[in-house]
Symmetry: C2
Subunit: 353 residues, 2 copies
């Protein structure tokens, strides 16, 4: 099943089937299976930084349940995005590697792709909005990638990318709607259930940030395969809660334009064509959180867990903080998905009480 | 050898031999051996949070060598101090446990003792300066300890402690000059050499913050036992570089009074009577760093490693940043010893460029 999608993606670039096609075609209902994630974990073996679960007794008291945090802010490149990018690029043919890769991203996927390309010695062009966090742009360049900046309000990143894809024959590495990307991010789910077994616990709930849904869909496949009773919840910024509303509607719904959020990493227009069918099957629901709740969650992460989490990486922590009565007697996992934030912004957010 | 010191400590409280006595008595030259640290690791097994080494390719580029960080800010209670306190308290007799424990500390030892006492169900009284970081006071109380605040400029903490020790029969848990405390902190050294072996590397140098010297002396014993060529360096704030100057002089030298530093956790008056003989034998030297260098190091830790490190916990990172030409071609370890810092202070330090 994965190979069908891989072939489609390679042939068609970003021109996927419509959601309706996917929903009505049982053969393509799920682009990723647990075996794909197990295979991804083998490819990533030795390349990942350790992100074992962290916990704070004081936070457990504060939230009224046992909360174990997956600190992907400590992952190579400062976010989970390295997992999917590396898994995707490691499967490229020698010819594809010669042609080089192109990606567009506001920053975390950019760094994951650039770092993976550097490890494989592949040329990478990354198309980033000029107003992306400075740290994300600087880090992407530091991995040796060519960064092309564009104006996200006036220019089309797809049009810019098409020059590299169509004219120069470079390979697009999509940020989430790709089975190899989803499977790579899903290795977090494997690690969650592995560590739960090791500790003799089972998660009642797992809370995961969601932009395009690659992270949460991959995690859901891995967790549901071994812990089917565990509920998976998506967390999103207010007004960017396309996943939450799409889950309720049962079909992909786009966000209304014109809104703003501090969560730059996960401001995706609508659920992915590959990720949504998985999420519709596996998720318990979505939770929308305010920027104010996100900033409070970032403060809790710094105060109690001693980790720097970027706004978009902290929405799942914000989600449980807002639903604390639900945690009584429960053991839950919360994914802190990234930590790439400019210190000028970060210090302001954590200073405000 | 350990037992001799334990007996002395139990009998005499803080009245140790003079430095000269220790230096001239070969039987007491080293209060802790590697076997004590191995035994401490067994006692701590299952109680510690994982603090596997973290690394940033970008920081390696910046510093010109390979730097692996031991993030003890992620340790239970937010600093390494839990290790020594737990190791000490776990060896108390049933009678001693009934009597309860007392400790004085500006905050990290306080939390380590309070948390360990809570795990063993022992009453703990912690004597803290009223101007200690608010987070440290609040956390210590959250572990169930009774906190007694005092004015460090007008009152004697020893006099306050003596009420609990002499009148009420409570047991003092010293912050560093105790073989069980040193051995507990030394488990970090064991983990360093274990993880180096696992990764197939050997550390040229290990950089460790030093206040009273319990952490660095314990680490030095464990590291030297298995990797004798590795050099161990102590890092201290400027004007509180008693270890550096004592190592040069070959005898304990106290700091001049009247100075200030942001590194509240490690402003100890002079090297410990048990720790200094170990450090004199094992250390390569000391490095003094300015508050400004410490703040810059805290920014690097947040930007590249995504961890919140308190000022005193970041002096070893500041030390390598100031000596970057020394790192060419080397692999070194840097201990980030704690992360308990008030966010109002922290945000100000990382915001200033």
């Amino acid at each position: 099943m994965t190979m069908i999608w891989m072939a489609k993606l390679r042939a068609g670039g970003m021109n996927y089937s419509t959601p309706t096609d996917i929903a009505e075609d049982p053969m393509t209902l799920l682009a990723v299976e647990n075996s794909d994630i197990v295979a991804a974990a083998k490819r990533l073996n030795g390349e990942l930084f350790s992100t074992r679960l962290i916990e704070s007794p004081a936070l457990n008291d504060k939230y009224g349940g046992r909360v174990l945090f997956k600190p992907e802010c400590l992952q190579r490149t400062g976010s989970f995005k390295f997992r999917g990018a590396y898994n995707r690029i490691s499967q490229m043919t020698a010819d594809e590697r010669k042609r080089g890769i192109v990606a567009f991203s506001s920053g975390n996927h950019a760094q994951g792709v650039a770092s993976s390309a550097q490890l494989f010695g592949i040329k990478a062009v990354i198309i980033m909005p000029f107003d992306a966090p400075q740290l994300k742009i600087a880090n992407t360049k530091s991995y040796g990638a060519e960064v092309v900046l564009y104006d996200r309000y006036k220019e089309s990143r797809e049009a810019i990318a098409s020059v590299y894809i169509n004219d120069r024959g470079m390979i697009l590495v999509p940020p989430y709607d790709d089975p190899a990307i989803i499977a790579g991010q899903g290795t977090i789910g494997l690690e969650l259930v592995d560590e739960a077994e090791e500790r003799g616990i089972e998660f009642d709930d797992v809370y995961v940030p969601s932009g395009g849904g690659g992270l949460i869909s991959g995690i859901s496949v891995a967790v549901k395969a071994r812990s089917p009773k565990t509920r998976i919840w998506g967390a999103e910024p207010e007004n960017f809660d396309d996943l939450r509303r799409s889950l309720i509607a049962g079909t992909q719904i786009a966000n209304e334009p014109g809104h703003h959020s501090i969560c730059d990493a996960i401001l995706t227009p609508q659920p992915g064509d590959l990720t949504f069918p998985i999420n519709r099957q596996n998720l318990a629901g979505g939770i929308a959180v305010s920027d104010k709740a996100v900033a409070a969650a970032m403060r809790d992460a710094a105060t109690f867990l001693k980790v720097v989490v970027e706004p978009g990486g902290c929405v799942a922590l914000a989600a449980i903080a807002n639903r604390q009565t639900d945690l009584a007697g429960k053991t839950v996992a919360v994914v802190l998905s990234g930590g790439n934030v400019d210190l000028a912004i970060y210090s302001g957010l954590i200073a405000a009480a």
